[in-house]
């Protein structure tokens, strides 16, 4: 792609990344969440992949790193649910909500801007899903592009 596209992609990628992480982090307060945020980040990856050629990208977006991200996300999601069992609760029980520790603030009533430090395990699961989708969707895009490259497109 031309230099304009590459520069734009370089500039936009961090912005997209931060916006995606914002959506992941605010999943329990605003519309959005893990999948949506992860998908936004993956579009950033897609933008970079489109702007550069596959060869230039492959040293930078490593498949193993992405795969690791996918595994960490999935295991993290299940692990957060399993921790409830370790506390003697039901699977997926929200053991952090209202506990006062991480994400454990009670939700304030009435119309307010929303408090990030609430909702218990839901933000943790959002982060796990976000990381997983980030890795998973980028792998899908990368795989499709590698298929195209081999044909010489």
């Amino acid at each position: 792609m031309s230099r304009i596209v590459r520069t734009a992609a370089d500039l936009l990628y961090p912005v997209i990344l931060i916006f995606g992480l914002y959506i992941v982090a605010h999943g329990h307060l605003t519309p959005g969440g893990g999948f949506q945020g992860g998908a936004v980040i993956a579009t950033g990856g897609a933008l970079v992949i489109v702007a550069y050629s596959y060869k230039e990208i492959s040293g930078w977006l490593k498949k193993n790193v992405l795969l690791g991200r996918e595994v960490i996300g999935l295991v993290g999601f299940i692990g957060v649910g399993l921790l409830a069992l370790a506390f003697g609760q039901v699977f997926f029980f929200n053991y952090l909500a209202g506990s006062g520790s991480l994400f454990g603030m009670p939700v304030p009533y009435g119309i307010n801007a929303g408090e990030l430090n609430t909702a218990g395990v839901i933000p943790l699961m959002n982060f796990a899903v976000g990381i997983e989708v980030w890795g998973g969707l980028t792998i899908v895009i990368l795989y499709m592009l590698s298929g195209l490259e081999k044909e010489g497109c």
């Binding site: 690791g68 299940i78 069992l85 003697g88 609760q89 699977f91 029980f93």
Partner: protein, 525 residues
């Protein structure tokens, strides 16, 4: 709380969590070494099976088990502050679900053992085992969920994982072609199910199966939803006239996967029965719906077996027989459904027909799995699946031949194997309902026998062919995998009555008893 209590209390959740955990960690563990990975998958599968058996034991001993995800207590289906609406995802394991869980556990263990050697020639097996565990999780989820939308989610997990598995050996594009066909049809079916779920939600404001069952009015919209869901699930379980994906997918998937795809199809069959019996039950016109299912069953039996006879590809032939055997299950349960409203007829032969149909699900999973595994062993050793090119393998593959004979006699309904036990129950009860149907079922059985005699003759009999002189017996893990299924075929054929009394009859009564299901979820409401 001791460890055993912990396992027993959380068994329904662990049934899903353990396979998912195994699946997700498989790519990482596969990086260490092949041996470690094999130990990991086998260990995880054994743990999953053990949990399934513990859960089944608890269900058969003490009654249905309810598990509410994320609630303060495992049996709190209706939260105190929700106004009487069950909002959480629940797992409702009654005798029927536990019965299907046992099938999945047994076939899962033997298929995994088998694939440890049958797949060892291929690379990138991490993906294979990941998809395999996703299929296991999908089946367990489908059979134990008590929430119709959750059922849809697990149906889709199962479809996607199965499609990936069918395409796993690209096979010059042929496997991908079969997988594409399967995937497009499954997605279409899933969208129909989604529309039906939308209708239920719009009408009854609930997704919980028990809640929908309690509020069921059988309006026009419910009829549309019933048609959508029955069409989709009948397609997924491979019943005629929507069976055309079955031979392609079954014949092109790796043989180990095919054996498990049989279980996957039966999970859809379970979904069909669950919707018809638990959600609708006697509120609908049981006679009409029952006859529709009977006709689907008879068509599947006849079309399946007639299409099977001229096949040249051994796995394709067996796939058509799978279609044909699905017909028996539909026939048995359909007869039970058609007389459901009538207490006298139900106790006379309705329950027996259903017991035959449900028992046949179990037996079919065993002997069909066994047959596909033997076909896989033959293909593994000689590299072709064309019946005309085979011959004289009885000289070198003796154990495989014995297992094939057991499977073939069981599918044809020859005593003393398990196929005979369930088919006899179907014949006897269906004869009381309508003699013509019973005669058709017997004729189909004879044709099945004829077809398998032909296969047996062309694969194992005759002089030893020079090109197969070096063919060896299948490796030991494959033989053990087949041996487990063959042993169960013989055992359940010799002692059918205790099995029917202990496993099948509770499952059938749990399926037919709509009030009991609602009461165990909503607490006697």
């Amino acid at each position: 709380m001791t460890f055993a209590d912990f396992i027993i209390t959380n068994a329904p959740a662990l049934l899903i969590v353990v396979p998912l955990f195994a699946a997700f960690l498989c790519p990482v563990i596969g990086k260490i070494s092949t041996t470690v990975r094999n130990c990991w998958v086998m260990g995880m599968m054994l743990i999953t099976a053990a949990i399934a058996f513990i859960l089944a034991y608890r269900v058969f001993a003490t009654g249905p088990v309810l598990y509410v995800f994320g609630a303060a207590a495992t049996n709190l289906a209706v939260p105190l502050d929700s106004g009487g609406i069950p909002i959480r995802i629940i797992f409702m394991v009654d005798a029927m679900s536990a019965f299907m869980g046992i099938i999945c556990a047994i076939v899962g263990v033997s298929v995994l053992l088998y694939s440890l050697s049958s797949e060892s020639r291929n690379s990138s097996l991490e993906g294979y085992y990941t998809l395999f565990f996703l299929m296991i999780a999908g089946v367990f989820g489908m059979v134990s969920t008590g929430d119709i939308f959750n059922f849809f989610v697990f149906l889709e997990i199962l479809s996607l994982a199965s499609a990936g598995m069918i395409a796993y050996r690209v096979d010059g594009g042929l496997a991908v072609e079969a997988a594409l066909k399967y995937l497009v049809l499954s997605t279409l079916g899933a969208i129909l199910v989604l529309f039906a779920i939308g209708i239920y939600y719009g009408e009854y404001n609930a997704l919980n199966i028990a809640m929908i069952a309690q509020r069921m009015q059988y309006t026009m919209l419910d009829k549309i939803a019933l048609v959508l869901i029955v069409a989709a699930l009948a397609m997924k379980c491979g019943a005629v006239p929507l069976h055309f994906w079955t031979p392609d997918a079954y014949s092109r998937a790796p043989s180990s996967v095919t054996a498990f795809l049989v279980v996957a199809s039966q999970a859809s069959l379970y979904g069909l029965f669950r919707v018809v019996f638990t959600m609708y039950n006697v509120t609908m016109n049981c006679v009409t719906v029952g006859w529709i299912i009977i006709i689907l069953g008879v068509l599947s039996m006849v079309v399946g077996v007639t299409m099977a006879i001229p096949q040249k590809d051994i796995k394709r032939l067996m796939a058509y027989h799978a279609v044909s055997q699905t017909g028996y299950m539909l026939l048995g349960v359909g007869v039970g459904l058609a007389v459901l409203g009538n207490v006298a007829l139900t106790s006379a032969f309705g329950f027996m027909a259903m017991e035959g149909g449900i028992f046949h699900i179990f037996n079919h999973a065993m002997y069909k799995g066994l047959l596909f595994l033997t076909a896989g062993a033959i293909v593994y050793r000689i590299g072709t699946r064309d019946l005309n090119k085979m011959g004289g393998l009885g000289h070198t593959m003796k154990y495989t031949m014995i297992f094939f004979i057991i499977g073939a006699l069981a599918i044809a309904g020859i005593p003393p194997l398990n196929g005979f036990a369930s088919k006899l129950m179907i014949y006897e009860s269906v004869y009381l309902f309508n003699p013509i149907l019973a005669i058709i079922a017997m004729v189909v059985s004879i044709l099945t026998l004829a077809s398998f005699v032909k296969v047996f003759h062309s694969v194992f009999m005759g002089p030893q062919l020079p090109e197969y002189a070096e063919v060896k017996e299948a490796p030991l893990p494959m033989l053990i995998g087949m041996g487990i299924l063959a042993a169960i075929c013989i055992l359940f054929g010799l002692f059918p009555q205790p099995v029917v009394d202990m496993l099948v009859a509770p499952a059938v009564h749990a399926l037919a008893d709509q009030g009991g299901y609602i009461a165990s979820v909503l607490g006697g409401a």
